[in-house]
Structure formats: C-alpha cells, structure tokens
Subunit: 202 residues, 2 copies
DNA sequence: AACTTTATTAACCATTTAGTTAAATCATGT
DNA sequence: ACATGATTTAACTAAATGGTTAATAAAGTT
C-alpha cells in the first residue's frame, strides 16, 4: 500500500469503514485516520460524505455483481450453475465478510438510491438464468417450478448465513470456527438440496 | 393511542424510528416529533439514547423470540413444526416488516451487546427442536442430516426475503405486490422443500 | 528560473445532536 | 385552598461532525 495514491488510500479506507459501520455510522474523521491522511483530503477528492459513500457503494456493488452474472450467463447446465454459484459465492464472501450485510442494509435504507442504481447499471441480472430454467422445464429436465422462487431459494440458502451472521451464531449457539465449518459443508449441501428439489425423475 | 402514557408513546415512537433507521441513523428529535412530545421527555424517561435503544431492542427481541420458541417447544412432529413455523413467521413479518433487518443489523453492529443479550435472556432457543430432530433420525423417520444445518436452511429460506427485502426486489425485478404474492406461495413451497429433503422414504 | 497547477496541512466554521437545567404546570392528597 | 411531588416545556450547553479556507509544499510546464 506504500505506493498507492492518496485517492486510492482514501477509497480503501472508506470501503473498510463504510462496509463495517454503514453510511449513518461511519465518521469522516475515522476514514481519514484509517487512510492516515488529513480529513480535508476526503473532501478534496470526493467532495462530500454522500459522494464518498456512493463511490464505496458502487465499488462494492460492482465487485459483487459479476460473481452472480458471470456464472448465470455462462453456457453450463442449470445444475452446474447452481453448484458453481454456491461454491464461488461462499468463497467470495468468506474473503469479504462485510459485503452482504452492507449491501442489504444500505439498499434497505435508501430504496430510491438503490432502485436508481439497479436501473442505471442493470446488474446483477439473473434473468438469463430464469430463461434457461424455463427452457429446461419445457424440455422435461426440470420439474414445473417458478424460476424466481427457485433463484430466491438459492440466494436465501447461500447468503442468509452471512447477512445475518451474528443472529445465526447466536441462534445456533456456535462460534466463528464452527460457523466456517458449517459454511464449507454448505457448499455441498445447498446444491444437493436445490437440485433434488427441481430435478425431474419421472 | 390517545389514552396511552407518555412513556408508552415514547417507546412506540422509538420502536418505529429505531427499527427503520437503526441506532446510528435515528435522531432523538425525530423520535420526539413522532411521539409528539418534548425532546427532554426522552431523557426524563429513558436517560440516554443508548438506554432508549436498549429498551427498543429488548421489546423487539422479546416480541420476535416467542414466535420461534413457542413453535419449537410444542409437542408437534418435526414436519408440523416446519409448516407452522414458516406460516407463522411469514405472517408475523408481513405485519412487522422492519423487525428482521433491524435485529440482524444491530446484532451485527454490536456483537458484544448482542452476545450478552442472548446469554442473559436465553432466547430464542431452537435446541429442543434440534434434539427432536436427532431423535427422529434415530427412529428412522428422518434422513441422517445435521440438525443445525436443517434449521439454518429453514431460517434462511424463510427470513432472507424479508431481511434483504430491497435487494431481493431489485434482483428479481419485482414490485411490492409481486413480492407479497411470492411470500404467500412460499408458505407452501418452503415446507415442501424442507420436508422432502429430510423425509426418509427408504 | 519563473510560473502555474496540483496536493496537503492546520486551523477554523456552521450545524447538528445528545444531553441538561431551571422554571412552569399539572395532578393529587390533605 | 394549599402543599407536595410528578410531569412538561423552553432555552440552553458542550461535544461531535461535516465541511471550508487560507497558507504552504510539491510537481510540472514554459
């Protein structure tokens, strides 16, 4: 990090602080301290807290979205996509543990801003995956299910544990180590559950 | 609300504001305005923002926890419990849409406080349900599964849509009306998915 | 070298915000 | 009616916080 520019240092620090504390909880001084620069620099480069937050939100979102899009628009089968999504998502989030709760929180708190963001950037977009599911239903490979519900199941099973990390640990009475082990198991468990629920045997 | 005491009015207003905006985003003045009383009253009755927040958190948590506990400690079968949990939870949350994200957010932001809270109040506690699952596995009614994973699946499938409301709507490209319809469908869909994944046919 | 632009700092400003105080008002019992 | 304690209000304070400014340093440019 020694050779990175001031602007990069600020953005990195802002990502750290905003992801952990959210827009409302973050302090400009704290971000400046984290970046080891003068607070005025934040405004010099990013003008306002809101703008800096938007830069962080975009950066975070654009790091997160491709994880979904790349997999869902490949030419793999539905089953393969389910498996690779769960595996990649869990690995990704283990490395970036604050991203799910940050995105969920800020989207809930700023619906207009988020809605605008979704429209402008159009990502992530699971609709190709939806289409593919519909096609495989028609072919008889999959049972007759609602593609949106199936995708929601996939997201729910994969993302909830991370979004609600603290609550999950408290409810199940497990520690961080135990949690990590369970998440590794879930890389197998979730695809099995999803696939067996949509596979057409008869 | 006309005949409620000042303390009650404050608590109700605080519940509204805190659940929507979280501890960091809420303002004492806004709570006072919502309750239509003088801001000094907040301190007269609750001493500080932190104390008021704790009262709100407790109230919310103690409203939420029994929804889980009552069902999980009844004498119904595992299958019946899965069905009634999903049905009751979704109905409950439709009436209290801010509770899941509020609890998840604040527990993530104050792990020590939350951990202490879990220990002191010891609820909600799905461990009786865990035991029952283990017993039914031994009896051969259920497949050999990890009870904790199965409960996590149940929570994930049920709660995620509400916790990540904004994100889910954006991803699936649906509006509030569509969302409600999907949630009603899920009252059937989730139990079917869970039960078929744990039922031992062989 | 002279000059211009860009980057950085310390000190400051204005507003917001949680919290306080002291006086006023209300309710209740005597 | 009056005394007493609880409740309520307006005005205030101190600290925090986002943002600005003016001076200075560094890096180009001619």
């Amino acid at each position: 990090m020694k050779d990175s520019t001031t602007e990069q240092k600020i953005l990195e620090a802002a990502i750290n602080i905003f992801q952990k504390k959210g827009m409302a909880g973050a302090r400009m001084q704290e971000i400046a301290d984290e970046a080891r620069i003068n607070k005025a620099m934040l405004h010099y480069y990013f003008r306002s807290k809101q703008r800096l937050f938007e830069a962080v939100f975009m950066q975070t979102f654009l790091k997160f979205a491709p994880q979904i899009n790349e997999i869902f628009s490949s030419d793999a089968t539905v089953f393969e996509k389910v498996r690779s999504f769960v595996d990649r998502y869990i690995s990704f989030v283990q490395e970036n543990p604050y991203i799910p709760s940050f995105l969920i929180q800020e989207i809930n708190n700023n619906p207009e801003f988020a809605h605008n963001f979704f429209n402008t950037h159009g990502v992530p977009d699971p609709s190709p995956f939806e289409k593919q599911i519909t096609e495989e239903i028609e072919k008889g490979v999959l049972k007759t299910i609602d593609p949106k519900q199936m995708i929601l199941n996939l997201f729910s099973l994969t993302a909830f544990s991370f979004a609600a990390n603290g609550l999950v640990k408290g409810l199940l009475n497990i520690d961080e180590e135990n949690f990590k082990m369970m998440m590794e198991e879930r890389k197998k468990l979730i695809p099995e559950l999803i696939i067996s629920s949509i596979k057409n045997y008869g």
